[in-house]
Amino acid sequence: AAPPLAKKETYKVGFAQTESNNPWRIAQTESMKAEAAKLGYQLVYTDAAGSAAKQVADVNSMIAQGVDVIFLAPREEKPLIPAVMAAKKAGIPVILLDRNVDQKLAKAGKDYVTFIGSDFVDEGKRVAEWLAKNANGKSKVIELEGTTGSSPANDRKKGFDETINAAGGFEIVASQTGDFARDKGRQVAESLLQAHPDADVIYAHNDEMAIGAISAIEAAGKVPGKDILVLSIDGGKEAVQAVVDGTIAAVVECNPRFGPKAFETMARYAKGEHIEPWVKNVDKFYDGSNAKEESAGAY
């Protein structure tokens, strides 16, 4: 079983973040810090700057410093296994945030406490399902992928592609990476819209690229929401507002505010409760039908 956690007044908690180069990660870090401060815990925070290897080293330095528990947002499924195992060996419980590790190599409840997060594949799937229902004859899709090789990019692509192909009648005319960034997403969209003037749907793996795509569509003299449907994942404030404005057709939420749930789970574990292997985040879905009412709740 995973190492136990003693019940204490206050804790020294480690949070190994994978990177801080996008609004989503920044919101996640903020949420963790705020919650730790609220509870009066000491937070040891590291940033792996996008390197799985460095993240393992970061976790090791937390182990060396003798933290009580480690929150780990693993950069990747497989390379973080050694970190999980090292913590287990050192008797420090690990709680995974937003991405899981390879289930063949490590198991929740045995090697680490649990995984808290959404399902990236499912997010892509929900976008595709919405599109299949609300396409209104639109069928030619440009897909703006996240950073090549990253797991959200792979999973969001997998979920979407499989579902939309199964639905039939749709064609993904181009699928290229926009690096999860607004500027790159815009440039790629600009180019792809030139090469595929007949495209009428753009599916972006995150809000930033979707907003970039909107400006590319406008520059090409077309109207987002009318000529071209834009779909996105993340559901931040700006994107939800865009849904209200009609420029984005639909967006799946992927809420970065992990703080409350993470520390609550930790408290439950300290009390000795059994923790389910996957603490699922419930993600909202915004489209024209509900965006206005729900926009206040977007992060």
Partner: protein, 324 residues
């Protein structure tokens, strides 16, 4: 490393400076943080940073010839994928495959530089792109799991006589590198080429062949780092290695080697790499103290500032450089 002991020129003095800074930083950490000198921290520090010391060694040789190798990070990533894929056959297939991939990349670098006469910066920049591309293609955009059954993970994860195996590997490489540079005639040739390729050619050196071998060696060391990467973290990682080249370049320079070539020290490069790596480790510990919770942003500002201080000190010590 023996050359470090008696300062002969101001260059040696600069190298002594690195050692002093290293010692000061260790002392600082030991006094300030609990568990800083704990065996766990030391061992995991060595295990992880062996990869960087390896590529810094290759980089030192390339820089001594007056070149530069920007491809080391990409090559390491690509090698880690190759190693992971081959590790299912046997541990040595993974090892040989990873190094082999590095050798191929290094050889291509060398040939493009010497035969096509393309500047090292551009040649190796292109190789960086190409090796990431190859890694992603081979790995199908995902990490590739290594085999846990063939003993491949022993290379990166196990210890031997109390020291992590990667640290042994790095030690071996440094001793070999030191012998080549300081004790073999080819070391003199590498240095002379860095002094000026055209001149070296007129002096009768086989410039092209030596340069090709140096780039090949840098590739092989990056390949070895890739093998350790795959073995230590249990996966070949096609997107790892970003920025490693800058770390390696900074290590070499902090070690007192001039980017203009013609001079340099293997031992001081090791000290330079350890110094920079230690700065990361210390930042993590500082965060753990909880006085100031440094955001990632402040960390990069501090790292930049640290580099600045080190190179300015270096420049001050190496007064020789100002003369001309």
């Amino acid at each position: 490393m023996l050359t470090l002991i008696k300062p002969k020129s101001s260059g040696d003095l600069a190298r002594m400076g690195v050692l002093l800074a290293l010692a000061a930083l260790i002392l600082f950490g030991a006094l300030r943080y609990d568990n800083f000198l704990s065996p766990f921290n030391i061992l995991s520090f060595l295990r992880y940073n062996s990869m960087f010391t390896l590529i810094a060694l290759g980089m030192a040789f390339v820089i001594i010839t007056g070149g530069i190798d920007l491809s080391v990070g990409g090559v390491a990533a690509c090698s880690s994928v190759v190693a992971a894929m081959l590790s299912t056959h046997s541990w040595w297939a993974g090892l040989a495959g990873g190094i082999g991939a590095g050798v191929v990349a290094g050889l291509i670098n060398g040939l493009v530089v010497t035969k096509m006469r393309i500047q090292p910066f551009i040649a190796t920049l292109a190789m960086m792109l190409a090796s990431y591309g190859t890694a992603l293609l081979l790995a199908d955009n995902q990490s590739v799991s290594v085999s846990y059954d063939t003993g491949f993970t022993v290379i990166g994860q196990d210890d031997f006589l109390g020291l992590p195996i990667p640290a042994w590997i790095a030690n071996g490489a440094y001793i070999a590198g030191w012998l080549v540079l300081e004790r073999l005639p080819s070391g003199r040739h590498i240095l002379a080429i860095g002094d000026g390729e055209a001149t070296a050619g007129l002096l009768g050196l086989k410039v092209d062949r030596t340069l090709t071998i140096v780039y090949l060696a840098s590739g092989a060391l990056a390949g070895l780092a890739g093998v350790i990467l795959a073995s230590q973290f249990g996966a070949g990682q096609p997107t790892e290695g970003v920025g490693w080249e800058l770390f390696a370049i900074a290590s070499v320079v902090v070690g007192g080697t001039l980017l203009t070539g013609g001079a340099g020290s293997v031992g001081a490069t090791l000290a330079g790499a350890l110094l920079l790596a230690l700065a990361f480790n210390i930042l993590n510990f500082e965060n753990g103290l909880g006085w100031i919770s440094l955001s990632a942003y402040w960390q990069s500002v501090i790292r930049g500032g640290f580099l600045l201080v080190v190179v300015i000190l270096q420049a001050k010590l190496d007064s020789n450089r100002k003369v001309d």
